[in-house]
């Protein structure tokens, strides 16, 4: 068996749009809109530069629900470029782009193999079928809850065996349990390299025998998809030994940063600290655009300033004026303020007056970790509102959300009742 080289990518989600953003400018919006395409283009460029044998894509190429013609056209355009350079491509579809999903009736370019609803085996190089074989299966429909791993049957003459699959390994990935399977299932299938997709955070589940890899999505699309994103360049030598090299190909990087106002004296100090934070975000992004979320925390004399109406918009405007028009830009999409007043809460709790009763009530709810029914009912005026509910699905605070909600409500109550922060 001779050496093989391929790029393993997944979850391109072409033309799907960034979520969780509270604001953007026109220029930033343009970059964000096309970020998934730019990242994909980087994947293609990587393949061409590295002259790999093949590009493997493990599902969720695009979101069928978006019905984006552009996504499909650009996808095939990329594969066509590879084909012209003699690089093959193997694609399976996942829950976001199942076979029965919406799709423009486009003809895949030559040198591209799309897997169907059953596991197929395709030689990595038809000219040398014994070198390596790619096994793969596409979701026939979105909701595949069946473990697909047992369907993979390896033939002994197929050389290096690669399994291309969109699935959820284990049970706690933070993603929906489509095609669920276990590590053991994967280990016992006789595949040499599992090229998986679905989980957006990259992880190497197994480094050998077999190698099991989630490359993650090549371009983060929401606030929690922070850090570098990309694909794996995989090399298998003649003896089947695999080496992995991660290549970051994202164009916009999500980030978050915290400014602690404790010990700061003026609003200008906060602005300066925020600028320092952004500078270090940009420095860490390796020349990429950064979209970040800023948390202003801490306890101190700036509590009033940071809580005043207009503070967040002033700060955000300041930062975006300073960094939003640069190339690469750093865009502050949101600022969360969770500063605490210098009120001595313990003293208030002991004062025995109305405020102490109030704080005691809040603590009771916080400890119970659930919302009282009548409060929940009040909140549902909005969350169950006939027009709003479909956009607020799962937005009703739970767990940590309840704690945050109570923190904010308590802060407001104390602002109102205890003027100037003195009990």
């Amino acid at each position: 068996m001779s050496q093989i080289r391929f790029v393993h990518a997944a979850d391109l989600h072409l033309d799907s749009q960034f979520s969780g953003l509270l604001s953007h400018s026109a220029e930033v919006a343009n970059v964000l809109r096309d970020a998934t395409f730019a990242a994909y283009s980087n994947v293609i460029d990587l393949c061409l530069r590295e002259k790999v044998d093949a590009l493997l894509i493990a599902g969720d190429v695009y979101d069928s629900a978006d019905r984006s013609l552009r996504a499909q056209l650009r996808f095939y355009e990329g594969l066509r470029r590879l084909g012209e350079a003699g690089i093959r491509s193997f694609v399976c579809h996942g829950n976001h782009d199942p076979l029965d999903g919406w799709e423009a009736r486009l003809t895949p370019p030559s040198m591209c193999h799309r897997f169907g609803p059953e596991v197929e085996a395709a030689p990595l190089d038809p000219g040398d079928p014994g070198k390596a074989t790619v096994y793969g299966i596409s979701y026939p429909r979105r909701d595949v809850r069946e473990n697909l791993v047992p369907r993979f049957q390896r033939h002994s003459s197929d050389g290096f065996a690669i399994g291309l699959l969109h699935c959820n390994v284990g049970s706690n990935t933070g993603h929906e349990a489509y095609a669920p399977c276990t590590l053991d299932d994967l280990r016992s299938a006789g595949i040499d390299y599992w090229a998986l997709g679905h989980v957006h955070a990259r992880q190497v589940l197994s480094e050998k025998d077999p190698v099991i890899v989630y490359p993650g999505n090549p371009q983060g699309r929401q606030p929690n998809e922070v850090g570098e994103r990309g694909v794996y360049l995989v090399e298998a030598d003649g003896s089947g030994r695999v080496s992995l090299a991660f290549h970051a190909i994202d164009v916009v990087r999500w980030a978050s940063s915290v400014v602690d106002v404790t010990g700061l004296d003026t609003e200008q100090d906060v602005f300066d600290a925020a600028e320092d934070a952004v500078d270090s975000l940009l420095a860490g992004a390796d020349g990429r655009h950064v979209v970040y979320r800023l948390s202003v925390t801490g306890r101190g004399q700036l509590y009033q300033s940071t809580r005043r109406e207009g503070f967040t918009s002033d700060l955000q405007e300041h930062l975006n004026d300073a960094y939003g028009a640069r190339r690469p830009f750093a865009w502050c999409e949101r600022i969360n303020v969770s500063t605490s007043s210098p009120i001595d809460r313990a003293a208030l709790l002991e004062s025995g007056d109305f405020v102490s009763d109030l704080l005691r009530l809040i603590d009771e709810i916080r400890d119970s970790a659930s919302l009282p029914d009548d409060l929940r009912g009040k909140l549902n005026d909005l969350y169950a509102h006939h027009r709003a509910r479909k956009y607020l699905k799962d937005a009703l605070p739970e767990n940590e959300g309840i704690r945050a909600l109570l923190d904010e409500a308590e802060a407001r109550c104390l602002d109102e009742l205890v003027a100037g922060g003195a009990p």
């Binding site: 033309d15 799907s16 979520s19 552009r70 009763d357 409060l375 909140l379 904010e408 109102e416 009742l417």
Partner: protein, 1045 residues
């Protein structure tokens, strides 16, 4: 805090009112209506909190006089005493607070501390209130009151406002059913984006359809293009064949004609042209030769002709002179009579001029008469001399006339001056006398001054002697006053006696001093007085002596002034008289001068007259010497000289010249006749020398004969020259003619004949063959080109041409053209359609709208979530506050309510058990013994008032617990209570007075009785007139102090 004493300087009806010490725990202030109870209460408020705004009802100006304001003494809870002085003045109000340490403050800062930070509203509403305020629920609603009370009591004073603000914030974000809230706006935006997105969903289906359409179009295009290519190729071939058709026919014809022509192998180049030229040349040279021969014969004939009068040619010089003189001769003959006539006219003019000069004037006298410059100058000198003499005579006469008038004026002035002098009398005093008297006057004035000075000095000395011993009145008076003062002092008493004694002694001492002083200054005086008297005497004598010539005795200033005025007047009269005398002298002098001047002028006139006579006789003599009449004036003589000169010039110039010209003409005529006559006779022409006409005719004929002879000689010479030249030309022409003949023969021989006509026929045949061969070559070349552009060899092309005919080709080409146009139109259509499809595909492939819309949707969703989070926090905050309030209310009742409840229960004898005040709300409910809840408006009026009194009680106690115990002043608050409840309330006040000072204001005797019964030693202060004391007076007098003020 308690009020120790009230002092009103001026406040409303109160003026100079003082309460005295208020040392009891409860004091009743009794007074009928309008006695000043409310004013007093208002004063207490004002003293504590300052003057209210002037527009307020409780602003009381000082109506009864006194300074507006007053004093208040208060004692704080620790027993320290403060004096508060508060007055209003023009510049505003002034306060002074004096603390227990005796230090004064110009602000009420220390007072605020004593008041426990209670504000005016708190004091007015809680501590000092009347029935009116009790009846008004609103009076408890003052924000400040509730804020102070509740913040002191519960820490929830801001709760209602907080809830209101939070609710407002919530509803700005979201409100069920609302459409203007932020969330409603976001939802609208999302739905709009969704709607637009739905419109983009068909893009992919459209893309597939367009792809299929593109394929179909491209297939159709390929087929159509192949067919078009075939059609075009056949059409091109037909066009080539048609284009060559004419040329092919012409070629065949050409070749046939060549074959028909007889063969002529060689022929001279341009044969016919050359033949014609040779023939032409031969003909020309023949003509030239003939012309030359004819000219030679003519010239030779002319050269042999005879010439008439050939001999005259030998007189060429004379003939030339005759010819040249002809014109001059004719002119002279013609002009002579005219010139002679002119000469006669001129001589007549000269004779006229001589006659004008005088009878004895002729040309001879004219020539000899002296008109030189010297003579004329002499005449001019005479003229000047005579003019000067006449002019001098005229001047002298005018001068004598002029001198006569001043003389008359001078005589008249002199006469008048003398008359005036006769009238003027001579003055009394002369100048010397006046000067002498003025000197006496000056001296007298000096001496008078001395005398007056001496008199004064003497008078001073006399006065000095009198002052040296004045009477001793002042010291005596002083002494009397001193004694009197001492006596008065004794009468008035001991103290005054000492004072009077001291004063009297002082006066005595002063009188003693005055006496001493007087004695010291009176000692010197009598010696200078005598000297002054002597000096006075001396100066009087000097004065009298000096003034004696003018008057007697001692003069006064005004006497001297009168004398001086008299002297001034005498001086003036003397000056006037002298002036008149001077004028008489001046006018007689002037008269004498004028008489002298007239005498001189008369003498000068006579002299001038004599001079003129002398000059006139000398001039007459000068005229006679020159043969001129002695009556002639010098001017006329000068005119005569002028005329003589002019006539002399005329005789010399005009007449002389004309005589010369006539002579010259006559001489010319004679000379010409002498030249012509002899020659004429030689050649037989008649000529009379004195006959001008005959001479002229002869001259003419001579000249004509000479001209004819010269002409004949010239002709013969020219004929000889021409003959020689013609002979040369004839020889040259003959040689050229022979050459031309030889050339012609040679050309004919080259054309294969000796006949020019045959030569021409053969030339035409040769040219035709040449032309046909050229055409044939051209046609072949064109056919070859056509074949080549059609892609065929010439042979194949010709074969195809041969296989068809032109009509066939044309009809096939027409059909093909139709098919081609149809196919091309179709092609264009397909290409356009393909373009449209490609554009649509391109547009769809790059459609970014959907991406933008989805990005927008994500943004809006996130905004919605963010708003939802904020709204949730606000909703939670509101819920928490409400819940905490409910719990607080449930579990704790604030102290105010507790105290109020105790009071209310007591007053209502237990009928009402509880008072409930929802937290942070100005709402009170009462709960009856049986559990029934009532709102205040459901209670009877009295019970309502009891409830509000109870609440105030609660507040007073609460305030006392939290802050300080302020005095309580109540004004007629129990009037609506029944007896039992009034007593209970009074008892409660009695109990309250153990902690807070209580002032009860009332106009009702029974109230006085009620309070004095529950507090036995309560002092009663009665306000108003001091007439009949109220009933309480006596009763109160038993225990308390009665004060009537």
């Amino acid at each position: 805090m308690r009020i120790k004493r009230i002092h009103v300087d001026g406040f409303g009806e109160l003026s100079g009112w003082d309460s005295g010490d208020l040392d009891g725990p409860l004091t009743v202030i009794y007074g009928p209506n309008e006695a000043g109870k409310s004013t007093l209460l208002a004063f207490v408020r004002t003293a504590l909190f300052g003057f209210p705004d002037k527009k307020r009802a409780d602003f009381y100006p000082a109506l009864r006089g006194g300074r507006h304001g007053g004093r208040l003494t208060v004692i704080d809870d620790r027993g320290a005493e403060y004096l508060v002085e508060r007055y209003e003045n023009a510049g505003g109000q002034a306060v002074r607070v004096t603390g227990p340490d005796g230090r004064g403050h110009d602000n009420d800062g220390p007072l605020r501390v004593v008041l426990g930070q209670a504000s005016r509203p708190v004091f007015e509403n809680v501590f000092a209130f009347s029935l009116n305020e009790l009846q008004r629920l609103e009076s408890l609603n003052e924000d400040d009151v509730s804020a102070q009370i509740y913040s002191a009591g519960m820490g929830a004073a801001r709760l209602p406002a907080a809830l209101k603000r939070i609710d407002a914030d919530r509803e700005r974000i979201f409100k069920g059913g609302g459409s203007r809230q932020e969330i409603a706006a976001i939802l609208r935006d999302i739905e709009e984006v969704e709607r637009k997105l739905a419109q983009t969903e068909n893009d992919a289906a459209e893309y597939g359809r367009l792809l299929a359409q593109r394929k179909q179009i491209e297939d159709d295009l390929a087929g159509l293009e192949a067919r078009l290519s075939d059609l075009r190729s056949r059409q091109r071939e037909i066009q080539h064949l048609l284009a060559a058709w004419g040329d092919a026919y012409a070629l065949r014809e050409c070749e046939k004609k060549i074959a028909d022509l007889p063969p002529i192998a060689d022929f001279p180049e341009d044969g016919v042209t050359r033949l014609e030229e040779a023939e032409k040349r031969k003909k020309e040279y023949e003509q030239i030769w003939r012309d030359a021969r004819s000219k030679l014969e003519d010239a030779e004939g002319e050269a042999t002709l005879e010439i008439a009068d050939e001999a005259i040619l030998g007189h060429a010089t004379q003939i030339d002179a005759i010819r040249e003189g002809t014109t001059s001769f004719r002119n002279s003959v013609r002009d002579l009579p005219e010139r002679q006539g002119e000469l006669r006219g001129l001589e007549r003019d000269l004779a006229d001029s001589l006659l004008a000069l005088g009878p004895d004037w002729n040309e001879e006298r004219l020539r000899s008469f002296d008109t030189s410059i010297a003579v004329r100058d002499a005449a001019e000198q005479w003229q000047k001399r005579l003019d000067a003499a006449e002019s001098a005579l005229r001047d002298a006469r005018a001068n004598a006339e002029r001198e006569r008038r001043p003389l008359e004026e001078a005589r008249r002035a002199s006469q008048e001056a003398r008359e005036k002098a006769r009238r003027e009398a001579r003055p009394e005093l002369d100048e010397d006398e006046i000067g002498r008297r003025r000197a006496i006057l000056r001296e007298s004035r000096t001496l008078l001054k001395d005398y007056e000075l001496a008199s004064l000095r003497f008078a001073d000395q006399k006065e000095g002697a009198r002052r040296a011993s004045p009477p001793a009145t002042l010291p005596i008076l002083l002494a009397v006053a001193g004694i009197a003062a001492a006596v008065v002092g004794l009468i008035l008493g001991r103290d005054a006696a000492i004072l009077g004694g001291v004063f009297g002694l002082a006066l005595l001492l002063a009188s003693a001093y005055a006496l001493l002083e007087r004695r010291r200054s009176g000692a010197t005086g009598s010696i200078p007085l005598a000297e002054a008297r002597a000096a006075l005497e001396r100066s009087r004598e000097a004065l009298e002596t000096a003034v004696a010539p003018l008057l007697t005795g001692i003069p006064k200033d005004h006497d001297l002034d009168a004398i001086e005025q008299d002297l001034d007047r005498a001086g003036a009269a003397l000056r006037a008289w002298s002036e008149v005398q001077r004028e008489v002298e001046a006018t007689s002098r002037r008269e004498q001068q004028c008489e002298g001047a007239l005498q001189d002028a008369t003498e000068r006139l006579e002299a001038a007259r004599q001079e003129l006579d002398r000059a006139q006789s000398a001039w007459a003599h000068w005229l006679l010497e020159r043969g001129l009449p002695d009556t002639l004036q010098p001017g006329a003589a000068l005119v005569l000289f002028e005329r003589v000169e002019k006539a002399r010039d005329f005789a010399r110039d005009a007449v002389g010249e004309m005589r010369r010209r006539v002579g010259a003409i006559q001489k010319d005529i004679a000379e010409y006749a002498r030249l012509v006559a002899p020659l004429a006779r030689e050649f037989g022409i008649q000529a009379q020398e004195d006959d001008a006409a005959s001479i002229a005719s002869a001259a003419e004929r001579l000249v004509a004969r000479f001209g004819a002879a010269a002409e004949g000689a010239s002709r013969r010479r020219r004929a000889l020259e021409r003959a020689a030249e013609a002979r040369k030309d004839a020889e040259a022409a003959e040689r050229r003619l022979q050459d031309a003949r030889a050339e012609l023969e040679s050309l004919l021989e080259k054309g294969g004949t000796d006949d020019p006509e045959e030569f021409r026929r053969r030339a035409a045949l040769y040219a035709e063959r040449q032309e046909l061969q050229r055409q044939s070559r051209d046609l072949e070349e064109r056919l070859r080109k056509e074949a080549l552009s059609g892609g065929l060899s010439i042979d194949e092309f010709c074969q195809r041409l041969a296989a068809t005919n032109e009509d066939e080709l044309r009809s096939e080409s027409g059909a093909l053209e139709g098919e081609l146009q149809e196919a091309e139109a179709k092609l264009k259509e397909l290409v356009e359609e393909r373009g449209r499809v490609l554009n649509s595909l391109e547009a769809l492939a790059h459609e970014e709208r959907a991406s933008d819309l989805r990005a927008e949707r994500e943004l809006l969703k996130e905004r919605l979530r963010a708003h939802a989070r904020r709204w949730s926090a606000l909703t939670t905050a509101a819920w928490l506050l409400e819940r905490a309030r409910a719990r607080y209310q449930e579990e704790r009742q604030p102290g105010v309510i507790q105290h109020a409840q105790d009071f209310f229960r007591t007053v209502t004898a237990g009928r009402y058990e509880r008072i409930v005040a929802p937290l942070g709300q100005q709402q009170i409910e009462v709960i009856e013994r049986d559990g029934t809840t009532k709102k205040p408006e459901q209670l009877s009026r009295g019970t309502q008032e009891q409830l509000y009194l109870a609440l105030r009680f609660g507040l007073i106690r609460q305030f006392g617990d939290q802050e300080t115990r302020l005095p309580v002043a109540v004004d007629e608050i129990l009037v609506n209570f029944d007896a039992a409840r009034a007593r209970a309330a009074a008892e409660a006040f009695a109990k309250l007075s153990e902690t807070n000072q209580v002032l009860v204001f009332t106009c009702l005797q029974n109230m006085v009785d009620l309070f004095t019964s529950v507090v036995p030693h309560a002092p009663v202060i009665t306000l108003g007139e001091s007439g009949e004391p109220p009933a309480a007076f006596k009763r109160a007098a038993r225990g308390g102090r009665q004060r009537l003020l």
